[in-house]
Amino acid sequence: MPRTEAVSPVVNVETEQRIEASVRLGARRPPPFTAPPTGEDPLPPSPDPRTGPPVSNARLGMVIFLAFEGMFFAGLIGAFLVFRFGSQPWPPVGQPRLPILVTWANTAILLFSSVTMRYALRTMRMGDRNGLTTGLSGTAMLGTIFLIVQGSEWFRLVRHGLTLSAGIYGATFYTLIGCHGLHVLGAVIWLLIVRVGSRDTRFSARRQVGVELCGMYWYFVVALWPILFALVYLS
């Protein structure tokens, strides 16, 4: 058996606060810090096992996933740009114009949802469960409104003859905006799952990580929209 000794670590104030907050939310208190087993000689510096590396596995994994998503949209945006700045007139003659005014309002709604998401994350870190639930509900609601407005506009566009197969204008529009819409839909579903979990009496540290990741994903989906809006609707 390797010998283990209790060494009092340098207390990281921010870490301690986080631990306290999650304990207040019902998580079990993590075991006290013990140094890794040592021989006679000092070890090379190793991170405190409670705080771990500067960016946690879950967050880092999410960042990598978002990089993948970003490149996926980069491919679609690249294709869009080829057509947009190609030789044909844009939008092509005889195709309906996109609803810019409504979409401006819809953009504002989606951007505002990042504020409610931030509220949810802040209140969770402070240990306020009710604030968390309110924030998540608000965000999910705003996301749903965004989707409903988008969907009803799509119905109008289809009635005016802008379809997927009507030409390259419709194809790029529905593919690019539709992919974003699917991502928003996925994010709203994730929000709802996380919101149900936030009512659980034993709100564990695992659940808290889940909310953090959901928040990162939501920020990505929101941040992507203004780029698409500017390119597809305004350019």
């Binding site: 090379p44 970003g70 490149m71 491919g75 294709a79 080829v82 997927l164």
Partner: protein, 578 residues
């Protein structure tokens, strides 16, 4: 030690199902990828032999294929459409279901936690999913052979509009399944690269800094980043192709305002990094093995790591060299030519460093070492023929000829597959706890090496002679008739190459059950995987190792042995100070 035994006992209770099928242990997942890859390799190899038969003796009965039903084969005679399917699927299977699962899936999974001193991957469940999603994609891909209309037949590059309209190739669901299979495989790779990158950044053992990582881990890290940033672009292109085929859009169809060249741009934006995804792990593997069996430190460790980063970066900005014939502006073609040729610089750095590593070493010609040496020499030939293609004027002449086929096989077979064999021979003792048979291994190596060169080298001559790349019957052309003897020679060599794999299969399975038991460190190597028992139990190490130095301290003056493991601590001798 008692602790390790206890954890082992707990995992014994997981049962057959959780241990061998839905395992979350990175080593079992690695083995699953290995067996998937080896199975697919047999499949892909047999397809290649059928292609070769048709090229040497066109429109004769291919032996042993009478059971294949029409319309693919009629009584053993190959139909032209099926020839198209075969070369498409040979490439697809070899690239996506052999080299990637074995080099990236198997050795990435097996080596990363062991070599950085971690107990498992960062996300073990995601890791399990990565294999099973990959397996589903393999099933979807193979299902294409059984649908009406046959499997995809537009080449592995699936150039639009050939592939975007069903009538052009006559293939309907085959092409759809091909697209879906690759989209699903992209998800599997995404899960893999999330795991690899997170594990390498976050889970290194104490003392394991980035510049103490073995080069094979460096290569896998770079490959994971490449995969992450290249594959989604292919996914988006495949999604558009599927929409064109199934939803009536016209992204790649000129008659609907689409742009066929867009497919080529998107495909090669993925496709060129993909080439380096296939070769970089083999480079890392060769670096490790050359150093171990030369009993010398790697020459220029940092230069090796940075040159791999350089190659990976350059692979982003060279995709146009696949499209010199597409009518791109000469200025653009020139810039692609220059960036492509710049890749020769980091590649040459690597080659000279490999030579520097073995220079003056006390070389042990074990089977893994022979394969690693073959990797280096064949990579040089493949790299040099790449320079021919990089220069626009030459490329215009040899574009879509057998010269290209020779080049790709010198890089992917001579490079990746020799690297893959080297890795299997080298890490087999750690994976399965038994040594492979050396004499059989050497027979396999020499037979493969000779047959391989006889198969692929003459293809350069065929290519310069003007033989086209995807051609059903070369005898249809008067100017190719004098070259037919070369085609026959190649086919005979290819059959020999296929037969040369039999010693490997025998060796693999015989050693699996009856090989000599391996000790912890049979090759006297420095890296951390040799610290763990052979095979390592669930959780890998008795205790997490602590790393004191880089991975290549061979023949160090500090110790009497000629190797100095990364985790051995040397207590300074006070007496020596006098």
């Amino acid at each position: 030690m008692s602790e390790a035994v206890a954890t082992h006992a707990v995992h014994e209770e997981l049962g057959l199902w959780r241990t061998y099928v839905f395992s979350t242990d990175h080593k079992m997942i690695a083995k699953q990828f290995l067996f998937l890859g080896l199975f697919m390799m047999i499949l892909g190899g047999l397809m290649a032999l059928m292609l070769r038969w048709q090229l040497a003796w066109p429109e004769t009965q291919v032996p042993g294929t009478r059971w294949i039903p029409g319309p693919n084969m009629t009584d053993g005679y190959m139909n032209p459409a099926f020839y198209n399917t075969l070369f498409t699927m040979h490439a697809t299977i070899m690239i996506f279901f052999v080299v990637m699962p074995i080099l990236v899936g198997c050795f990435g999974n097996f080596l990363i936690p062991l070599m950085i001193g971690a107990r498992d991957m960062a996300f073990p469940v995601l890791n399990m999913l990565s294999f099973w999603v990959g397996a589903v994609s393999g099933i979807v891909m193979l299902a294409g052979f059984f649908v009406p209309g046959g499997h995809a037949a537009g080449g592995w590059t699936s150039y639009a509009p050939l592939t975007a309209v069903t009538q052009y190739t006559g293939v309907n669901w085959g092409q759809n399944l091909w697209c879906m299979g690759l989209i699903i495989l992209g998800i599997s790779s995404l899960m893999g690269s999330i795991n690899y990158i997170t594990t390498i950044i976050n889970m290194r053992a104490p003392g394991m800094t980035f510049f103490r990582l073995p080069l094979v881990i460096w290569s896998l890290f770079i490959v994971a980043v490449l995969l992450l940033l290249a594959l989604p672009v292919l996914t988006s292109a495949l999604a558009m192709l599927l929409l064109d085929r199934m939803a009536g859009t016209s992204f790649f169809l000129p008659e609907g305002g689409g742009e066929p060249l867009l497919w080529q741009h998107l495909f090669w934006f993925f496709g060129h990094p993909e080439v380096y995804i296939l070769i970089l792990p083999a480079m890392g593997i060769a670096s490790d093995i050359l150093s171990v069996f030369s009993r010398k430190p790697i020459f220029g460790y940092r230069a090796m790591a940075f040159s791999m980063i350089g190659i990976a970066f350059l692979s982003w900005i060279v995709w146009g060299h696949h499209m010199f014939q597409s009518g791109m502006s000469p200025t653009l073609g020139f810039s692609f030519m220059v960036t492509t040729m710049v890749i020769a610089v980091p590649s040459a750095i690597k080659t000279f460093n490999w030579l520097g590593t073995i220079w003056g070493g006390s070389i042990r010609f074990t089977t893994p070492m022979l394969n690693a040496l073959a990797f280096v020499s064949m990579f040089v030939i493949g790299g040099l023929s790449g320079i021919f293609m990089a220069s626009t004027p030459v490329d215009i002449f040899i574009h879509d000829t057998y010269f290209i086929v020779a080049h790709i096989h010198y890089v992917v077979f001579g490079g990746s597959v020799f690297g893959l064999f080297a890795a299997i021979y080298y890490w087999f003792p750690k994976m399965f706890g038994r040594m492979m048979n050396e004499p059989l291994g050497k027979i396999h190596f020499f037979a493969t090496f000779i047959a391989y060169n006889c198969t692929f080298f003459p293809m350069h001559i065929l290519g310069v002679g003007g033989m086209m790349r995807r051609i059903y019957n070369p005898l249809q052309y008067e100017f190719l008739k004098p070259l037919q003897q070369i085609n026959i020679f190649i086919t005979v060599s290819a059959v020999a190459l296929g037969l040369a794999q039999i010693p490997f299969v025998i060796n693999f399975f015989w050693s699996l059950f009856a090989g000599k038991k391996a000790e912890r460190n049979p090759w006297k190597a420095n890296t951390l995987e040799w610290v763990a028992p052979s095979p390592p139990p669930h959780g890998n190490f008795d205790a997490i190792p602590v790393v004191y130095r880089g991975p290549y301290e061979y023949s160090s003056p500090e110790v009497t042995e000629d190797y100095l493991p990364q985790n051995r601590q040397i207590v300074p001798q006070r007496a020596a100070a006098h």
